[in-house]
Amino acid sequence: MSTPALELTGLKKSFGKAEIIRGIDLSIGKAERHAIIGPNGAGKSTLFNLITARFAPTAGTVKLHGENLAGLEPFQINRKGLSRSFQITNIFPAMTVFENVRCALLWAQGYKYSFWHLVNSKRDLTEGAEAILDQINLLERRNLPAGTLSYAEQRALEIGITIAGGADVIMLDEPTAGMSNTETDYITDLILKVTAGKTLIMVEHDMSVVFGLADRISVLVYGEIIATGAPADVRADARVQEAYLGAALEAEH
């Protein structure tokens, strides 16, 4: 069996006395589309933050392509080929749309901290950024400040930024949250298009998106994964049913 793209073993996280993630083992293969679902407060975003070293885990390991990520900073993890988006739109609002994407290209194209290149005169940067803009259908908005885009456009831009660096493991945190149906469809298509051939891990609430996109699904409830498997299997799982139904009932009260 080949090395999984991402492998979590015994991952735990506590804030004070509250244990939010209570031991997660998960293995995600190369080019797999994996969705993580679960009721509110299950710890999905925390899990994302643990993987990308935004938080340090209390216990357990995260391996990317078999390499332990312990002690690495987010930017180091990113350089190893893992890229993520955020639940709350996280772009550079004062920069133009084009600049946003170009910034995301800089490291991957090897410009690093250089001060002897002028970004404007680099054809590869301009063309690369425009190609991405084309993919996410924002070429027309090229020179607008990113903060003035519509919400859906900003989410699309964020996906563009996330994939621009060429990472082969893409993590998206609720890419369609707060969107109308048409917008959701648009983003779903976009994700399908831009993550072709890559490993995708996403947190999502919208079940139609999840079932439309994911190869496998993990269900996270109270910091534990109660089921992992193909969409149809997960849908049929009794514990999942119970967890979701229970959560739904709770929410009604």
């Binding site: 935004r54 709350i88 410009y111 901290y113 027309e140 903060g147 003035t148």
Partner: protein, 446 residues
């Protein structure tokens, strides 16, 4: 809820901007086509103006003041690499310029070495020493931005300023270190005896440094400085360490601050404690913010305005610092974009070709307002004279008029000018606002 639809949430100004660039494709074409001429033109014009300025201002004091302006511009631009482009607020940046300057003075005094180098390259050494210090301090201060960075910069600034009177061997104590620039190797026969020669040296460095700093902002690390300023977290997930990006900006800023220090050394041939102290650090913050941190040319305008306030206004009134302070506070409160922001506010109107519609309303409002403010200033000056002048000394001169500050008439006149001036401005202000809205709206009458 932190996320809402920005379309419904954009502040007034941004929406206007939105409206005028509704055709982005067109705008981008415009930008691409004209990019070379657009970016080069101001530089060429500025250089030509600088070269020919001494023809109009022949006396040495004007040259001295222009030199001072140039040095402040270089320093303020360097400072803005931190504040404006990197989002780092420093309360102790004078030490990098100061240490660079002191190093240059020591080089001037090492006559064996100094004789072998032309004076024109001396600022490079200043830059290197400023950079060296920035490398040391930055290694621990740039780990985080925000308050921690600001406070470390304050502490380090105070420490080095305090060292200036304690470590006499390097800083020369209270009297500082002085030298003579003319001992350098003549540069194509020029010995820099005269102020005019120093002027050309200074502006050459001004143009070179400003250009380099501008180009820096167009390099990958310069772009990422902006990214880290706006959103350090996102930048981290693009593969960049926010800390290293800040560190590189800090070093570059230290270098150009050191160049400014070197220019100072050449101009004044003396460096003292005042080049390092917190007051100087405060002034450069003031200058930069006054000019506007959001635009590359902001600090340039700030440096010119402040130098004029400091050297020219202080010739006419003791209260110059009071006016400068008022101007500064008013800028922060009403025009956080600074003077540059004020100027750039008009760009949309120019692009729409409607700027001419603003001229008359401006004259109708701003002229009376200016007169009213002058009247107010007169009242302030008279109050000050009344309170603090010698008792027998009742005569004062204001706006080329000499009068008795203890008589009622001048007070009535100044008061009336103030009330009428500001009154007219107030009544015409709505018309200006209307004209402003009209000038910034696409389509319509034009």
């Amino acid at each position: 809820m932190t996320v809402s639809d920005p379309k419904h949430d954009v502040p007034e100004g941004a929406r206007e901007q939105d409206q005028i660039t509704t055709d982005p494709a067109k705008a981008s074409e415009r930008m691409r086509a004209g990019s070379m001429t657009l970016t080069l033109a101001p530089w060429v014009i500025a250089t030509v103006v600088l070269v020919f300025l001494p023809m109009f201002f022949t006396n040495n004091s004007a040259l001295t003041i222009m030199n001072q302006m140039s040095i402040t511009i270089v320093f303020a631009l360097a400072y803005n690499m931190l504040l404006g482009q990197g989002g780092m607020l420093s309360f102790g940046h004078a030490v990098y310029a100061g240490v660079g300057g002191f190093a240059c003075m020591h080089i001037m005094n090492m006559s064996d070495f100094f004789e072998t180098i032309p004076l024109v390259i001396l600022p490079v050494f200043g830059g290197l020493f400023g950079m060296g210090l920035a490398m040391i301090v930055g290694s621990f201060s740039t780990r985080s931005a925000g308050t921690v960075f600001a406070m470390i910069s304050l502490g380090v600034g105070e420490l080095i300023a305090a060292c200036s009177v304690i470590i006499v061997a390097f800083f020369g104590g209270e009297e500082g270190i002085s030298g003579d620039r003319t001992y350098a190797q003549p540069f194509f026969g020029v010995e820099f005896l005269q102020q005019i020669e120093v002027y050309y040296l200074t502006i050459a460095w001004l143009v070179i440094s400003a250009a380099l700093m501008y180009l820096w902002s167009r390099t990958p690390v310069g772009r990422m400085a902006n990214a880290v300023r706006d959103n350090p977290e996102r930048a981290q997930f693009l593969g960049y360490s926010a800390r290293w990006v800040r560190y590189y900006s800090f070093i570059a800023s230290g270098f150009f601050a050191g160049v400014a220090g070197g220019l100072f050394a050449i101009n004044y041939e003396i460096l003292t404690e005042e080049n390092l102290n917190t007051a100087s650090s405060g002034v450069i913050l003031l200058v930069t913010f006054l000019g506007g941190v959001g635009f590359f040319f902001g600090p340039i305008i700030g440096a010119i305005a402040f130098t004029l306030l400091q050297t020219v206004l202080s010739l006419s009134t003791e209260l110059w610092a009071f006016y400068a302070g008022t101007l500064f506070v008013a800028t922060v409160m009403f025009f956080p974009g600074g003077l540059a922001g004020l100027i750039m506010m008009h760009v949309p109107a120019f692009k729409l070709g409607k700027a001419s519609g603003l001229v008359m309303p401006y004259i109708k409002t701003l002229l009376p307002a200016a007169i009213g403010l002058l009247g107010l200033a007169a009242l302030v000056e008279m109050t000050f004279h009344f309170r603090h002048a010698a008792t027998g000394d009742v005569e004062m001169t204001l706006f080329w008029t000499t009068f008795n500050s203890h008589e009622i008439l001048p007070w009535i006149i100044a008061g009336a000018v103030t009330v009428i001036g500001l009154g007219i401005a107030k009544t015409t202000a709505p018309a200006l606002k209307e004209a402003w809205n009209e000038a910034n709206t696409a389509g319509g009458a034009s």
